[in-house]
């Protein structure tokens, strides 16, 4: 078999670029599937455009360095070695060239499945997911081309901990899918270089876990399974009810702030006996957050000043709406999409649509107020009734971000409207509620 090493520029998150070092052009690298006893002639080809030498250490290979010693390959060259797969299991492979943490930290890992002689039990869906961290110079979400930050790597302070090489690689239309009644198997591994994973699927219980990916012994009915860096596990579960099930590293700031979040969308008929859906909804609001700190206000004032300067220059002014839409998209994908959905269609009976929403488009000031102060109580959108609550966002968003996200939702999914300004937002933020 052939595996090509390539250094490629790709997206680590919206607006964030990174040069990934890859096995086969993707993070994680190509999934290799062989059977116990197979004799494999392995070619590692290092693309001529590579800057660096690379090699491969396959944890499923018995021999010095798991092949690393025999596959150390200069840019534009190719190495060959042959191994026999002695032990069945799911194994991580990775580049083992010094400095190893950087090669793995740039994406050089993947998995090789050595199936037992008589194969694995049949399932309906199989998925391949790997967790890994990225040590970028910029903080989470900082736009532009990011480079590897050696100091953060040594201190083990990654701004990103993600599934399959990017924030959002398994959400929206890239989410995993299954139908009610199907059995799903996930080959889950951790490339690292440093962090372990508390792998969990919100709303599911793993029927079977092959802990640490040894395939001879399965555990049953587990919630969260610990996967070491440079290790793997195999989980299986039958999906009984429809809905979106969220894959996380249950060390939750990683899911919430660093990107370790994916989705499994299950379609099919509901089963009210297993899961009823929401039966009662009452409103409870604690104290709302203060309307921004002094420094946030000062920042907003300065931004308004800059905006005024820019507005007086017509050449720039034309570009600003487009830019606001782009930036607004990033706010939306960070903050709003979980409820209103990436396609802006919301979820029936719970989250109202923003796409072509008559309620939204009817009143621009009201839209600003909703984003800032939240919304409680019954309303009708496009003829459908909703009676729920949206949390206020004023503590989380600057005036600019509010203006951007509104400009985005007013100019996407078939909506159209003028750009929002920070002045508009500020005026409403300062109204007492």
């Amino acid at each position: 078999m052939n595996l090509e090493v390539r250094e490629v520029v790709g997206h680590l998150a919206d607006g964030v670029e990174y040069t990934f070092w890859t096995f086969g052009g993707t993070v994680p690298g190509s999934f290799i599937r062989i059977r116990e006893g197979d004799v494999v002639e392995f070619h590692l080809n290092n693309h001529p455009s590579s800057k660096l030498p690379h090699n491969i250490d396959l944890h499923g290979v018995t021999g010095p360095g798991g092949g690393a010693a025999s596959t150390f390959t200069a840019p534009g060259h190719s190495s060959q070695f042959t191994f026999q797969a002695l032990n069945p299991g799911l194994f991580v492979y990775h580049c083992a060239t010094a400095p190893v943490p950087m090669h793995i930290g740039n994406g050089m890992y993947g998995m090789i499945l050595v199936e037992p002689k008589d194969g694995l039990p049949k399932v309906d869906k199989e998925y391949y997911v790997m967790q890994g961290e990225f040590y970028t110079t910029g903080k989470y979400g900082e736009e532009g081309m990011q480079s590897f930050d050696m100091a953060k790597a040594i201190d083990e302070r990654p701004p990103y901990i993600v599934f399959n090489g990017a924030v959002g690689s398994l959400v929206g239309d890239k989410a995993l899918g299954a139908k009610v009644g199907e059995t799903v198997r996930i080959y889950f591994g951790v490339g690292g270089p440093n962090m372990t994973s508390s792998f969990h699927v919100i709303g599911e219980i793993f029927d079977k876990v092959y802990p640490e990916a040894g395939l001879s012994l399965a555990n049953h009915n587990l919630q969260t399974t610990l996967v070491p860096a440079g290790g793997a596990c195999v989980v299986e579960f039958k999906v009984d009810v429809p809905g979106t099930f969220v894959l996380v590293d249950h060390s939750l700031t990683r899911a919430f702030n660093k990107g370790a979040l994916g989705m499994l969308k299950v379609t099919g008929a509901a089963n009210r006996v297993i899961y009823s859906g929401k039966e009662i909804d009452a409103i409870y609001l604690g104290a709302q957050a203060d309307a921004g700190s002094d420094s946030a206000k000062r920042e907003a004032e300065l931004k308004a000043k800059i905006a005024a300067e820019i507005k007086s220059n017509p050449a720039i002014a034309g570009l600003t709406k487009e830019m606001q839409i782009e930036k607004g998209k990033q706010v939306y994908m960070g903050l709003c999409f979980a409820c209103h959905q990436p396609d802006g269609n919301g979820l029936p009976n719970i989250f109202p649509p923003l796409a072509k929403s008559d309620f939204l488009l009817a009143d621009r000031d009201r839209a600003v107020r909703i984003v800032l102060k939240g919304l409680v109580g019954p309303l009708t959108v496009n003829g459908k009734k909703f009676d729920s609550a949206m949390p206020p966002q004023e503590a989380a968003l600057t005036d600019q971000q509010v203006a951007d996200v509104l400009t985005y939702i007013f100019n996407t999914w078939g909506n159209s409207g003028e750009a929002f300004t920070t002045d508009q937002v500020k005026a409403i933020r300062n109204q007492t509620h």
Partner: protein, 270 residues
Amino acid sequence: MSFRMPIVRCGLTALALASAVKVLAEDTAALRLIPAGTYEPLLRSSQDPARIPVAAFLLDERPVTNADFLAFVTANPKWRRSLVSRLFADTSYLQHWSADLEPGPAAPLRAPVVQVSWFAARAYARWAGKRLPTTAEWELAAAAGYDRPDGRNDAALKRDLYAWLARPVPAVFADATSLRPDFHGIRGLHGLVWEWVDDFNTAMVTGESRADTTLDRNLFCGAGSAGASDTTDYAAFMRAALRASLKADNTTTSLGFRCARDTAPLNAFP
């Protein structure tokens, strides 16, 4: 740029081009003095010294350019792409040049030459009356910062270096003189191309560095840092790994070289 354009546009023959360039191009890089110092090898066995004294020497202010190398292959036909012995250069040798004596659009005359083997780099140096720097010399020179002799804490240099590492190899390289000079007035040691050193295959490990049985002395995995003096200098590991991966006939799209000379004038070459 202006150097190359008229030549391409008038479509001069390779021969005319060669003679046109020959007038101004022998090896034209200026040499700068690197004062004596010590080099702490990144990787060493217990027998090797921790600090190696390095005598003062002269180092090219910039890497060897395509124009320099064109002058060299013009004067030495056996180093032309179509004539070179396969023992001394692999099949990618100067592959990005348009023809034997025509660097062409992918290899601007002022850009550093790449896709050259160690044998070719050495032959060039001898022809130019110079030599390749040793690993110790190269690393000593490269330890300087932009504005101070010891670059370890030069944040600007570190930032530029890691930003360069994060960028893929460009299709066409920038001018060899385009980078900011360092404390010694040398440009492009970091951030342009990798560079051959004379002892690329011996500085790090003795014997056969690529054998399966010497894993503990090689640059793999955790073992890569077992005997290292400074495990936090990732860029130094990358240079060491690159050198270790190479054979003397190898060429890569981002590997060039520059020359050095002893401070005392040389009267004979080995």
